[in-house]
Symmetry: C2
Subunit: 124 residues, 2 copies
DNA sequence: AATTACAGTTTACATATGTAACCTTTTTAA
DNA sequence: TTAAAAAGGTTACATATGTAAACTGTAATT
């Protein structure tokens, strides 16, 4: 019953461009994503899918369609982050950060302080 | 050229059980995952896929097969975490933690200290 | 005007994933 | 010992995703 919109990895590239450059044309998108090496068709498919899943929309006032994101970067990130933490860290932000910290080069003391802040971050 | 093993959401449930309970039988897994409401077939498919993608393996010394994880929880988490951060936060741990912090109830000062630690965590 | 370069639309096709039935053999409980 | 339950194997089927060709129309370039 939610806005179960899920954006795939490839689609994220498009969304990211649209977030930074609203009202872009297909050409704009194609140029920006050229490093990806995708064919023109691929780009169009990604855009079409984003529009059909209501993550983006079309503005057709001018001669060519201009696309823009319907979902904000912030909300998409939060949604993805939550589902990621649920899937991989049993919903525990604490565990995630602990894991990140263990990969880092913080001193024992700093790690402890980090843990304290994380704890304080609440909501388990 | 990497160990491009990707574990899907449903498969994670199985892996998690195997991490906590190595050398489990299908029945063990089925019982543990019963809250998921999956059919017996579904469980078997998930286990089979994990085995075929070399994330788990079979020990067939006894009468029934016993399954165990071939990849550690730690390495799977790190892999997933990295790909997640790359996909959603442009590879920036910093940005991820900043985002988490902004969702929290830390004081301004604490957030600043958190940021300092994150920065120090290095490898951007 | 003819050619080219896109735009927009439709169709395609392989792999991944969620979810499960069916079949055969073996084990177990009534 | 017979029926039910489970194990292991094979097959299935819809949706998602990565990736793209083909077709139709229009706009820009030669």
């Amino acid at each position: 019953m939610k806005n179960e919109i899920s954006i795939s990895e490839s689609e994220w590239s498009v969304m990211e461009f649209l977030w930074s450059n609203p009202f872009s044309t297909i050409t704009d998108i194609r140029k920006a994503l050229s490093p990806k090496g995708w064919s023109d068709s691929t780009i169009k498919t990604l855009v079409r899918r984003l529009v059909s899943k209501k993550a983006a929309a079309i503005n057709d006032e001018g001669a060519v369609f201009r696309y823009y994101a319907l979902l904000s970067e912030q909300e998409c990130r939060l949604k993805e982050t939550k589902s990621f933490i649920n899937r991989v860290y049993n919903g525990s932000v604490n565990m995630l950060v602990t894991n990140l910290a263990s990969e880092s080069n913080l001193t024992e003391k700093e790690t402890q302080e980090l843990m304290r802040l994380i704890d304080k971050m609440g909501k388990e």
